[in-house]
């Protein structure tokens, strides 16, 4: 990326610094017409930038905002926007580091599950814009010789995201995105959440015990045998046939290879 020329008639660096820092004075070359002041005038740009980016985050993270309430959300988002402005004009890519920011935001400390809910929402938007590719057909497994099955490795679909949470990230996400009223949720129940998009609609699945470890292992590139072991280690209730069924029901994978090929 080429840097902007240091000195130019548009002092873009100075303009940007003043836009993102409300304490800084407006750029010296900026003024009102016919000797008018330009404090409020320059603040229009400041406000447009800050508010539009806060709104973009509110659109990406509606469940987080419902949990925190609008005031806390906007405070948190304002601080984030100023510290981490977007580095791409594609706003649907924005906010990947918002969950980590939430984790360290003092006023959100009493909601330790909030960052993982944000991770699920961020994965939702990634899946929404992902490439239109057919997920792996279940028939693909039938074509693999039984002795090669353990060594099979799977490539994740570009829409696929996995969030492994020590909190009830799925229940909290689902209640706040999809339900009018929210019942009691045991937030301390660990949940693994799989985000996929088998067609046009994004699917968010709360995984059974052991499946999070299984999917994590597959997504990391381990073979099916190793992933099954990881699942079994994570939960005594883990069932490999159920887990393989889940791979195809969710459309989480794109293709399969065996070590021989």
């Amino acid at each position: 990326m080429q840097s902007a020329p240091e000195k130019s008639d548009l002092n873009a660096a100075g303009f940007r610094a003043a836009i993102l820092d409300p304490v800084r004075e407006k750029p010296a070359t900026v003024e009102g017409p016919r000797g008018k002041q330009a404090v409020k005038r320059f603040n229009v740009y400041r406000n447009n930038v800050t508010v539009s980016l806060i709104n973009a985050l509110a659109d990406i993270f509606p469940a987080v905002m419902r949990i925190t309430g609008e005031t806390l959300f906007r405070d948190m988002a304002r601080e984030f926007v100023r510290a981490h402005p977007p580095v791409s004009p594609l706003l649907f890519l924005y906010g990947h580091d918002f969950p980590a920011f939430i984790e360290h935001f003092e006023h959100a400390r009493r909601m330790p599950y909030l960052a993982d809910v944000a991770r699920v929402e961020r994965a939702w938007l990634t899946a929404y814009h992902a490439a239109d590719l057919e997920p792996l057909d279940p028939q693909a497994l039938a074509k693999i010789a039984p002795e090669d099955l353990e060594g099979a490795m799977f490539k994740p679909h570009p829409a696929t995201g996995l969030i492994r949470s020590p909190y009830a990230a799925f229940d909290i996400f689902d209640a706040n995105r999809n339900r009018e009223t929210i019942g009691r949720i045991d937030v301390t129940r660990p949940q693994d959440v799989l985000v996929t998009r088998p067609g046009m609609d994004v699917t968010v699945t709360g995984l059974p015990q052991g499946h999070g470890a299984f999917f994590a292992s597959l997504i990391a590139g381990d073979c099916l045998g190793d992933a099954a072991e990881a699942g079994a280690r994570a939960s005594s209730a883990f069932d490999i046939n159920e887990a393989i069924g889940g791979m195809f029901a969710t459309g989480a994978f794109l293709s399969v290879t065996t070590e021989q090929t």
């Binding site: 990326m1 080429q2 840097s3 902007a4 020329p5 130019s8 008639d9 548009l10 873009a12 660096a13 303009f15 940007r16 836009i19 993102l20 407006k26 070359t29 900026v30 003024e31 009102g32 017409p33 016919r34 008018k36 002041q37 330009a38 404090v39 409020k40 005038r41 320059f42 229009v44 740009y45 447009n48 930038v49 539009s52 980016l53 973009a56 402005p85 977007p86 580095v87 791409s88 004009p89 594609l90 706003l91 649907f92 899946a127 929404y128 814009h129 992902a130 490439a131 239109d132 590719l133 570009p158 998009r197 046009m200 609609d201």
Partner: protein, 316 residues
């Protein structure tokens, strides 16, 4: 969540592919009718409306993802309507070179959707890599003129066709400006061969904010290069001296004073494709449709008197 028109019938019966568009090539001129900014919430209503709008416009950046519902929706409206592809984030007005990645994404959209019109803004939004998501102003000088012209040259080279440049709405001026906006724009057109997108609301907003007459701006504006007009609503705030400061908010109906200006422009220049922009606090479809219909009435009237004027001229 997914509008029903995508779930059955339409897209299955008519698979979206090049060649199925009712208005296939951009070389076929877009009709001088009113269009609307396309929002996904209006998809079903737009397709079902017995009185279809003349064209739709989309913000290019919203369709720069790899796939999913946005592309599905755009393919579907593109089957039935001519398209205007409106870039918001190219940052043509800044000093740094345009992003080659962004140019490549823009060209891919032009190739895929074959828009009748392609436009961008006389503004900037990116510095180094930081994107500020607003149309920021620039001083009008020989130096900034050179930057803007080389950026437009680059963009037209990449997309392989002419683009329209939109006049900005601004809230401040620069003490180091040496050219006025209309002279600046005229010189850009002369050097780059680009066309113009005249945003009449922007003219009204800037004129109010900076205390000049919108009519004298328009009289000075190179109308013969205008390929599209924008109309939009604005909001009213106060400047530092307590006088009205208009904000280009795109969240309201077009103001009466902007309709008046628009009528004058169309009566003078003849019919020009006209887009009603409405980007936040979105209304129900019938309200947006009525705004476009109001523009169509003015275009219709002008089409009649324009033709009559021409036949008189021929007869004389």
């Amino acid at each position: 969540m997914t509008p029903t028109s995508l779930n059955h019938g339409a897209s299955a019966a008519r698979p979206p592919a090049a060649g199925t568009f009712r208005f296939a090539a951009h070389t076929a001129r877009i009709p001088a009718l009113a269009g609307v900014g396309f929002k996904h919430t209006h998809l079903d209503a737009i397709l079902a409306d017995p009185d279809p709008v003349g064209f739709v416009e989309v913000h290019a950046e919203n369709y720069m993802g790899d796939g999913g519902f946005p592309h599905r929706a755009l393919e579907r409206v593109r089957q039935d309507f001519p398209l205007s592809l409106h870039g918001v984030c190219m940052s043509i007005g800044g000093p740094q070179p345009l992003s080659e990645d962004h140019l490549a994404r823009f060209k891919a959209l032009v190739d895929r959707y074959e828009p009748a019109l392609v436009s961008e803004h006389l503004a900037w939004s990116t510095h180094d890599e930081v994107f500020m998501n607003d149309l920021l102003p620039l001083p009008y000088t020989e130096e900034t003129l050179n930057h803007v012209c080389s950026h437009i040259d680059r963009m037209q080279d990449v997309i392989g066709r002419q683009m329209l440049l939109e006049n900005p709405s601004t809230y401040v001026v620069f003490e180091n400006s040496t050219l006025n906006e209309t002279d600046f724009i005229r010189e850009i057109v002369r050097r780059t061969g680009c066309g113009l997108l005249l945003d009449v609301n922007n003219v009204f907003v800037s004129a109010t904010n900076h205390g000049f007459s919108p009519m004298s701006y328009l009289m000075d504006y190179p109308m013969e290069h205008v390929g599209e007009i924008h109309l939009a609503g604005h909001a009213v705030q106060e400047d530092d001296e307590g006088e009205p400061l208009l904000i280009d908010s795109h969240d309201a109906p077009v103001a009466d004073s902007v309709w008046d200006l628009y009528s004058i422009v169309i009566r003078q220049s003849g019919p020009i494709p006209t887009l009603v922009e409405w980007d936040s606090d979105l209304p129900d479809w019938p309200i947006l449709r009525a705004e476009a219909a109001a523009a169509d009435r003015i275009l219709d009237e002008a089409a009649h008197s324009f033709l009559m004027g021409k036949s008189h001229a021929v007869g004389a």
